[in-house]
Amino acid sequence: MAIVGVIGFSLFAAMFTRLWYLQVMDSRELQALATQNQVREVFETAPRGRILDRRGRPMVANKISQAVTVKRLEIKEDPEVPVRLAPLLGISQAELAKRIEDPRYTRFRPVPVAEDVSEELVVYLRERSQNFRGVDVVTSYERAYPNGTLGAHLVGYVGEINDRELATRKDKDYRLGDEIGKSGVEQSYEDDLRGRPGRIQLEVDARGRVIRTLGSTPPVPGNDVQLTVDLDVQRLAEESLDQGLATARGRTPRGGGPPLAAPGGAAVVLDPRDGSVLAMASNPTYDPGAFVNGIRPELFQALQAPPSRFPLNNRAIQGEYAPGSTFKLLTALAALQTGMINPGTTVLDTGEYSLRSCRGQTCTFRNAGSTSYGRVNLTQALTVSSDVFFYSLGADFWFRGGPNAQAIQTAARQLGLGDRTGLPLAGEQKGRILDAGIRKKLNESNPKAFPNGRWYAGDNVNLAIGQGETVVTPLQLANVYATLANGGTLFAPRVAARVLRPGGEVVRELPPSAVRQVPMPPNVRDPIVQGLTGAVADPRGTAHGAFAGFPVDVFPVAGKTGTAQVVGKNDTAVFAAFGPVQSPQFAVSVFMEESGFGGAAAAPVARRVFDGLAGKPLEPIRTTGAVD
C-alpha cells in the first residue's frame, strides 16, 4: 500500500513541477510563440525603382501584371481545385499541372499559372476563394525592358535571392523568394532600387483562415537610378561593334591562316571630363527580359556553355586582353616623363631591332610586315606605329637599370592599369602589369604555374609594345586615353549620376571621383597627342584608312591602333582614341577578339561611333586595308 502511495505522490509532484516550469519559468518565451502562432505577416513587394539613361529615358521600367498564382503545397490538399481551375484559365489539366511544376519556382514561391488575367476572372476567383484553396490573384510588378537587349550588361538582371545572398543580408529584410539584382546596375544599386516591402499583419487560426487584419505598413517604392549612359551612344556603340564583328567574321586574315572567328568584343565610350561612362557595349549580349520571373534552367545553362560565346560576361570590364600597340602611349609617356628621350630624339627604323649582346632568333624583333620607316621621332613613331622605335625604348629602360627599369610599368600603373578602375559594377578584372619583382614572387610562390622567375631584356622589349603578359580591360584602356585627353586626371569611372525618388526629386548625387593627377606637362603630352592625331589624320597613319572621309579638320581625333598576338588564336583587334582633340569630350576603346588588324577591324568600329558622336550620318562598316 505504501509503495502505491509513494508512487502516486511522486507522479503528482512531477506534474506540479512541470506545470510550474512551463507556466512560470519558461512562460515568456513560449508566450511569444503563441503570439507568433496567431499573427501571420503577409509581405507586399514594393515596385522596384527604374533605371534611367542620362536624359531620363527608361532603360529598365516596370509593368504591372495580374497573375493567378498557385501555392504548390496547398493546392495538393484538394485534388478538385486544379479540375475547377484549368477550364477557367482555358488550358488543359495537363498543361496546368506542368505550369504548377515549373522548376523556376522554389516551393516557397507561389507559382504563376496565368499572367495578365481578366478582371472578371479575378473577381470570380476572389468570391469563391474557399473553392480554390492555394489559388491567389496577385498584382505584381515585373521588370520591363523597353529597349530590349540594349545595355543589358550595364543594367544587369534580377533573379530570386539565393541562400548566400540571404545570409549576407540578414539585417535587410529579405525573404526566400524575393527578387534581387544579380548583376550590373541592378546589383550595385540594389539598396536604392529595391524600396521597402509592405507588411500586413493578420490574425489567423490553425487552418490559416484570416480572422482579422491587425495592422499594415504600405510598401515604399524603390528609387530610380539615373545613369551617365546615353541610350543613343549605347545603341551606337552596340550596333557598330556588332556590325564590325559581323564584317570581320569569316574573313581570311592577311598573311593567311584560319578564318577570323570574331566571337566577341567590347566597346567603351567615356566622357574624359569626369569619367562618366557614356556607353559600354559587350558582344555577344543577352536578353535581361529572359530572367523575369526566373530564367528557364536550360536557357541559363545554354548561356553559360561555350557555343554561346558567354554572353553574360561583360567583356568591357571582365575581358582581359593584350593591348598591343595601343600600349605605346604608356611607353612614350614613361620615356618623356623620365627624360630618357625628348620629342626630337630619333631612332633609325630598319624594320627590325636586335638586342645587343644577344644571339639567336629570339634576339631580333620585327615591325609588322617588317616594314622599314626610316629615321623616326616619337610623334612619327606613334603615327606609323613603329615597333622598332619602342623596342629600343623598352631595351634602353632595362639596360639603364635602377628605377628606369620599371619606368614603363610605373607609367602604366599611374594611369590605372593592373588595378580595378573603381567602376561600381561587380566582376571588374584588374588586368596585369608584370615586372621583374612580381614575376620573381610568382615563381617563388608557385614554381609549377610560373616556371620563369627571371625578367629579361626581351620582356621589356615586348612590354614596350603591349605584348607579352600585359593584359588590360577595355574600360581600363578607355580610361588611359581619357586621362591623356583631359591632361592627366585619372577618374574612377562612374556609371550612375544620381538617385531619384519616384517623383523625380533627387535623393543623392553620385559625383565624379578623381583617383589621382598624373603629371603631364605640355612637353610630355603634346608630342604624344600629336602622334596619335597623326595616326588618324596623316596619310601614313595606321587608322587613316578607317577614318577616310571623317571631318578631322573640325573634329580631330587622336587614336591608336593595336593588333595583339594571342597564342594559338587570331589577333585581337584594338583601337583606342579620344576627340575632339582640342576639347576632348569622348574617349573610346574597341576590342575585338580574333578579328585581325586593329586598323582593319577595330578602327572602323570606332570610326562609326565617332561618326555618330560628331552628328554625321551613319554608314555601314566596311573593312579597310590598313595594317597596324
Binding site: M1, I3, V4, G5, I7, G8, L11, F12, A14, M15, F16, R18, L19, W20, L22, Q23, V24, D26, S27, E29, L30, Q31, L33, A34, N37, Q38, E203, V204, D205, A206, R207, I211
Partner: protein
C-alpha cells in the same frame, strides 16, 4: 459516505463541462452547446451509474465476478465483429442511436472487479500458478483490445494490474520478472511492427519535439505553448487564443488540460491537480480502510487506473510523457470514459461505506 471524494469528483466534472464548452463553442458545423450538452448528459448518466455502483454491496459484484468477466469478453469480441463500428482506424465502438459505447472503457472497471475477486478468493497467496492465472485473466481482454487496436487503454490495464499485484503481495522476483517481460514486450512490439506508424510518430514526437513536420510533434508543441501561454493567472475563461483559434488538436478530448492551462493559468491547473490528488488520496484511504482484501484491491485497481490516466494525460500535454489517446478522467469529452470513471468512483464509495460492516 465519503463526501470529500464526492465533492472533488463533482467539482472536477463541473470544471470539465466548462472546459469542454470553452474548447468547442466555436467549432464550425456544430451548435456552440452541442458538445457540452452531450457531455452534461454523460455526466448525469455517470452520476446515476455511480450511485448504482455505490448502493449495491461490492461483495455482490465479487460474487458475480465470473458472469461479469464473461460478459466483458463477449462485449469486446462483439465490438470487433461487424456490429462494432470503425472510427479513425480503430474498431472500438458500438453505435447506439446518437451515441457510441466503447466497451474497452467499461472493461477497465469490470476487470478490476474480477481480478480483485479472484485474488481475494485465494486470500492473496499468489504462487506462480495463481499469478499466471491472474495474468491470463488480464491478458484475454487486453488481447481483444489490442485487436481494435487501442494501445493507450492497454497501458491503463497494465498499470491497474501492476498496482493490484504489488498490493496483493506478489513476490518481488515475480514482479521483477514481469517488469522485464514488459520491457521485452515493448521492444518486440516495436521491432515486429505491431505498433502503427502514427503511434511510433507520437512516441517519436515526445523524444524529438521540435521536428514540426510531424503532426504529433505539432500537437505536442502547440499544447505546451498553450499551457505556457496561460502563465500564472491564465488568459481568462473563454479567452485562450490557442484554444479559440483551434491550434491545439483534440482539445475537447485528449488535450482538455491545455484549455485549463491556457485560460485558468497556474492557479486553475494547480487547483485541478489538487482535486485529482484528493481523489487519489481518498481512494488510497478507502483501500487502506477496506474491510476485506477484495475491497482493498478494487480501490487499488481504481487508484492505478486514475493515477496512470492523470499522469499520462496531463504529462503528455506538458511534454513529459508520450502522446497516447488516453482521456483525462471527468474532464475529457466522451461518454464511455465518463461512465467508467463515475462507475469506478462508485466502487470506491461502496468499499468506503462498508468498511465497518
Amino acid at each position: 459516505m465519503d463526501l470529500t471524494l464526492l465533492g472533488a469528483v463533482i467539482a472536477i466534472a463541473g470544471l470539465g463541462l466548462l472546459m469542454v464548452y470553452s474548447a468547442t463553442q466555436n467549432r464550425s458545423g456544430f451548435a456552440p452547446t452541442y458538445f457540452v450538452q452531450r457531455q452534461a448528459i454523460f455526466t448525469v448518466l455517470g452520476i446515476g451509474l455511480m450511485v448504482l455502483m455505490a448502493t449495491r454491496d461490492y461483495r455482490v459484484f465479487r460474487d458475480f465476478a465470473p458472469p461479469i468477466y464473461v460478459a466483458t469478453l463477449v462485449a469486446l469480441v462483439l465490438v470487433l465483429s461487424p456490429l462494432g463500428s470503425d472510427k479513425r482506424g480503430s474498431q472500438a465502438w458500438f453505435q447506439l442511436g446518437p451515441f457510441q459505447l466503447q466497451p474497452s472503457e467499461l472493461a477497465k472497471v469490470s476487470v478490476i472487479v474480477c481480478l480483485s475477486a479472484y485474488v481475494a478468493a485465494h486470500r492473496g497467496e499468489l504462487d506462480g500458478r495463481r499469478l499466471l492465472t491472474v495474468l491470463a485473466l488480464a491478458a484475454l481482454p487486453m488481447a481483444l483490445i489490442q485487436g481494435q487496436p487501442d494501445l493507450g487503454t492497454n497501458l491503463v490495464f497494465a498499470s491497474i494490474l501492476m498496482a493490484m499485484l504489488v498490493v496483493a503481495g506478489a513476490r518481488p522476483r515475480h514482479m521483477a520478472a514481469l517488469v522485464f517481460a514488459g520491457i521485452l514486450a515493448v521492444v518486440l512490439v516495436f521491432q515486429l511492427g505491431v505498433v502503427k506508424e502514427y503511434q511510433r510518430d507520437r512516441l517519436g514526437a515526445f523524444i524529438e519535439p521540435d521536428s514540426e513536420t510531424m503532426r504529433s510533434a505539432y500537437s505536442l508543441r502547440q499544447s505546451t505553448i498553450a499551457i505556457a501561454n496561460g502563465g500564472i493567472f491564465g488568459k481568462g475563461l473563454f479567452r485562450g487564443t490557442q484554444t479559440k483559434l483551434a491550434y491545439v488538436p483534440e482539445q475537447h478530448t485528449d488535450f482538455i488540460f491545455t484549455v485549463v492551462g491556457e485560460e485558468l493559468g497556474l492557479v486553475g491547473s494547480a487547483l485541478l491537480l489538487v482535486l485529482f490528488a484528493i481523489i487519489v488520496w481518498r481512494t488510497w484511504r478507502a483501500a487502506a480502510l477496506a474491510k476485506d482484501l477484495s475491497g482493498t484491491l478494487m480501490c487499488v485497481g481504481v487508484l492505478g487506473m486514475f493515477v496512470f490516466q492523470i499522469f499520462e494525460n496531463v504529462g503528455m500535454t506538458m511534454g513529459i510523457m508520450p502522446i497516447t489517446g488516453i482521456p483525462l478522467p471527468f474532464m475529457s469529452y466522451g461518454g464511455s470514459a465518463t461512465l467508467a470513471s463515475f462507475a469506478a468512483i462508485g466502487l470506491v464509495l461502496n468499499v468506503h461505506m462498508r468498511r465497518f460492516s
